[in-house]
Symmetry: D2
Amino acid sequence: MSSIETLMDNLKIELPSWAFGNAGTRFKVFGTPGTPRTIREKIADAATVHRLTGLAPTVALHIPWDEVADYRALGAYAEDLGVRLGTVNSNTFQDDDYKFGSLTHIDKKVREKAIDHHLACIEVMAETGSTDLKIWLADGTNYPGQGDIRGRQDRLAESLATIYQHIGEGQRLVLEYKFFEPATYMTDVPDWGTAFAQVSALGERAMVCLDTGHHAPGTNIEFIVAQLLRLRKLGSFDFNSRFYADDDLIVGAADPFQLFRILFEVIRGGGLDADSGVALMLDQCHNVEAKIPGQIRSVLNVQEMTARAAMVDLDALTEAQENGDVLTANSVFMDAFYTDVRPRLARWRAEHGLPEDPMAAFARSGYQRQIEAERVGGAQSGWGA
Amino acid sequence: MSSIETLMDNLKIELPSWAFGNAGTRFKVFGTPGTPRTIREKIADAATVHRLTGLAPTVALHIPWDEVADYRALGAYAEDLGVRLGTVNSNTFQDDDYKFGSLTHIDKKVREKAIDHHLACIEVMAETGSTDLKIWLADGTNYPGQGDIRGRQDRLAESLATIYQHIGEGQRLVLEYKFFEPATYMTDVPDWGTAFAQVSALGERAMVCLDTGHHAPGTNIEFIVAQLLRLRKLGSFDFNSRFYADDDLIVGAADPFQLFRILFEVIRGGGLDADSGVALMLDQCHNVEAKIPGQIRSVLNVQEMTARAAMVDLDALTEAQENGDVLTANSVFMDAFYTDVRPRLARWRAEHGLPEDPMAAFARSGYQRQIEAERVGGAQSGWGA
Amino acid sequence: MSSIETLMDNLKIELPSWAFGNAGTRFKVFGTPGTPRTIREKIADAATVHRLTGLAPTVALHIPWDEVADYRALGAYAEDLGVRLGTVNSNTFQDDDYKFGSLTHIDKKVREKAIDHHLACIEVMAETGSTDLKIWLADGTNYPGQGDIRGRQDRLAESLATIYQHIGEGQRLVLEYKFFEPATYMTDVPDWGTAFAQVSALGERAMVCLDTGHHAPGTNIEFIVAQLLRLRKLGSFDFNSRFYADDDLIVGAADPFQLFRILFEVIRGGGLDADSGVALMLDQCHNVEAKIPGQIRSVLNVQEMTARAAMVDLDALTEAQENGDVLTANSVFMDAFYTDVRPRLARWRAEHGLPEDPMAAFARSGYQRQIEAERVGGAQSGWGA
Amino acid sequence: MSSIETLMDNLKIELPSWAFGNAGTRFKVFGTPGTPRTIREKIADAATVHRLTGLAPTVALHIPWDEVADYRALGAYAEDLGVRLGTVNSNTFQDDDYKFGSLTHIDKKVREKAIDHHLACIEVMAETGSTDLKIWLADGTNYPGQGDIRGRQDRLAESLATIYQHIGEGQRLVLEYKFFEPATYMTDVPDWGTAFAQVSALGERAMVCLDTGHHAPGTNIEFIVAQLLRLRKLGSFDFNSRFYADDDLIVGAADPFQLFRILFEVIRGGGLDADSGVALMLDQCHNVEAKIPGQIRSVLNVQEMTARAAMVDLDALTEAQENGDVLTANSVFMDAFYTDVRPRLARWRAEHGLPEDPMAAFARSGYQRQIEAERVGGAQSGWGA
């Protein structure tokens, strides 16, 4: 395993444009002053996160929320601010036609509409230079009998195959799975097994996206990480954390030790190697907390737990494992987790011309006051736009 | 246990006005033609459910969604349609001031605002003749450290005490608990124990509301039903069903056997006796299914499972229990569940001048076509109004 | 779909020999009079279940619990009683060597011992004529760091490949997955995805076993059934039911509607067709209830829910699904579930010379009294022998 | 909040005698060399833990597993080794009579037997000077219909009232709740609400025991801690940790951040104050790891998380909470969790004449070799004895 500092130098975490917009629950979405109205404003916020942390060089787009007329101009705008455009995320869950499914819909016309949307996303990728098309589907059913589980799965395979034909050489189709929500009885891509089976049928450029909040209670997520890396099908992460359902909290906030274990398996499986092809992304909702600092805290959490995970003494661990010495193995593992790596990371930041404490630097920067003053009028961005 | 037909004669299930409006998830709310724009239109729909089933003589209001200038006129309107106004539900989760809590808020001014809202609800009750004030709180926190768990609980007790002072002789305060959502880390009234402790501190007219969708995975809900009846603190039910979280599906749709077990304990604990004080309500969201038939199906499900639960041969059951004969006891119990009671209920309906098949009767009635034609323009009701 | 009676004629459910022995929890195993001391006595009990129900023509063996010197003689004994020997189940969880794993163990010698045990099981299969080798592994770890998740998975693949080489033409290797227990942190085959990936790497004669009690809370099991059938990798079922963990209760006892949904997908996916290759087995523990009647009740439950599932009006269901008519689709589905099929099954039994009420017939038969009188002395069978 | 060192000086964690015996799952109990055969040997092991950590001055007994003829002599033996006898734990789950319940049993004779066992335990307490009688009941049912939920609850109340009459002035009855296991359908004391309602009906000397492994998935345990402290009914803790069910792993091993949050609420609610009456105990099973070091690690984990919890800057936290500054409040909270307190605790140990690294000191001590040499022959202790 490379030194921690080298690891830090190579760590890149993609920010989701929508994290800077308003989000909430079915009960209420609370707005906040300064919330972006446009994708340009979202990119400006994301660039601020990167400027203060050095960890977030790319921004993921969500289509149609981030639709613009000229994506090359948008890319140039981003580069001027020091970041690039990243993954393109499709959306087939907010159109009335998709009430009963999109790529799985029983009606061929609706499926074609959903496929066409993905082809349009691939065209956006050509403009933005994005390599990944990420597909999360809200498809599913709420009541037993409502849909034909098997038939929907077959239609999904067919729809994905059509989209996959348009995925170019250096591009990838990344399929995300989710345990439940918005569907409440049956979700068409509910687990890694389904995502794996579906992308395996497509080909080498089809991969699985693991969202850390999308599992049944008690699921050992690091096992899935290790397994997908072993099967060479781990395309990307959507990082966030949860206590109950898909809470979309700040990554590491609910169970930092779980994040440590996940990142340990990522490192162990080569997921942070230069050529791994594993993309790290955030996918969170800042319902009650400040958004930009929420994103700063998130990338710092990933960085910190990556550093702790990298500090595991692998020789000592392997020796204890070989000896069947459970407590020593566990101690070696925990020792890395319990070690306070923050001073070392502050030094790394200083050496890279970054503020030692990015959260404090943001608070001092006046950026928030500035956007609150400037971003007056217009409609704040949210999940609808 | 009284005869099934007598039980049916006395069974009354309150409908929630909001079930007739649009509902959805944080991802999307799908609208449907004919959705009510006003509380009067909601009441008309509810009255239709009652007319076809004979099971739903009252409608619960939600304030401020159902606010009107003249509640007495509203009550008269309802009575003209054959139903009455029932429970008043408060709402302290859609105002920006309540972002960090309402009755538990750290800021006294916000708490007072929330208390005042409840006092206003009690005034509505005086106009409508409602006996129950139902309080469900969205209060909670999303992150560890965000709030002071203990302090919030103390403030809750204080706020409830203030409200309780205004609860009149024939009135009740009914406190609902919920495992999680919208809060994702700590919910201030997360379990029946908390609701029980809080209402016990208030007095005899304070009761617990059990929403069947508000429990941790695996929770034995019929146990809580039996326990609260034993402790004389079961005020009411919010019926619905779920596979995962608070899915708010049609009651009985996810696990009819669970509904059977719950209703068996209700009957066994005297909850359907004339003087029990246990109110049966629905609380559901018809996100993808038709709303009025969704409510018809729901009251029929409760009726049907009540009838099956009432068919348990208690003498045989007790004998098997006393003998430690597990399989016979279970067989006696299951035999009632497996018996098809639908023909008997169809007869009961015919004898009461009701359509034997209320779902088919609604489909035939033309009511849906009529409201789709009439209810054009205006804003469809939903959780926001 | 064939007529229900034809379906009943072909329905075959394998009984596990160990269901007739004592079972319990880590806290206590309660013994009962009449419990078998030998595999011959277990087979006699199993044959009694078949004689009364016509549903259970085969008995699964568990090695070494059911080890005998002469398996051909055992087979002949079984056939004299009207049943045959079925699946051979291996056991690598009760030897001290397997404390830290068997097929996944870090020590090659332990892995070889575990592999050899499976080869010995294949030799038993040659004697008994069994077609299926079922592998359930207790392998896993209790603490983070205790084992190398990835390395264990690689060793599992290697061990299975060695065993698979010995699986003959008409034989199958069936790999069972389980969410947790006895391991408490990481289980080496925790989900269908892992079992699917592992058996897919082996070849056509390697299949997945789905135990209905081996999933995370909230898992939609019928989805997995449909998916594995679609992927042609559903080898067999271990039927039982659960409220919490792997409770191993009587199938259908905890959630009969779930069993109905599972069997609907089995039928819909061709799993009950003559050439489906899907084996139906019970895997239960009768901790507090009588064992032989417990098995009778279990096969009756599977039969009854199969019959109800077969009664779904598929044309009406498909039409409603195509129309997006959620409530009608659900109604069609539920109508079959709610229909009392027991009289029809009693007639089917009468027509086949079986007692109309097998539970009552067993109680009347005097069999239990007889075995209690005969089986005195010796050590009662349990999970240890 | 007092200084961390003062807090450490007063921290006392009771060890369970049974943690030194063999434990396992229903599948297998693995024995280890050196395992105690008698309660005296268990006490010797416990005293070793205390000698190396200074944290564990008392040992809990389990009756009948630890039954001796002369408890005063046993107490003197313990004091010679530097420890004292603590809580007495009753056992009504291993006698055939208790198959269908103990204090809740439908048969009065069985209830009386179970009550008498508790009175015998109180007599032991008189000899040992123990103040707490801890009652954990395995009572429950496995199948719907098997028992009368309400009747069992009433009988429980009656049985507890009889026992409570014998609880002396300085003594306490502490009732433990558990979500499930060994019962799989209905557990008679499944949640804190039930334990609270039952002990509240008894009187001031009846309290609740919170076992950290006894909750439904996702339960916010620190909330219950805060609530029970607020209601003055938190009698004691059974510390352990879990990923799935009641895994009984080393406390802090599965989710150290959860342990931190729990201990924060303990401190915040006065639970570590001298007069709090909150007893801290371990209740664990060392199925695959070494037992004595397992106990050492456990008390160190509690100590370490107590120290981290005590480091929360309460002024800064309160200020952030009052400002609705979610991220700062969370940061203040996390900052304490992330601070490596181990060097400070090593210093505290050195100042108290304890080894700085108790795990290493135990490994060096030769104690394990010694007991392996000495404890040959006889029956190793386990849950049965």
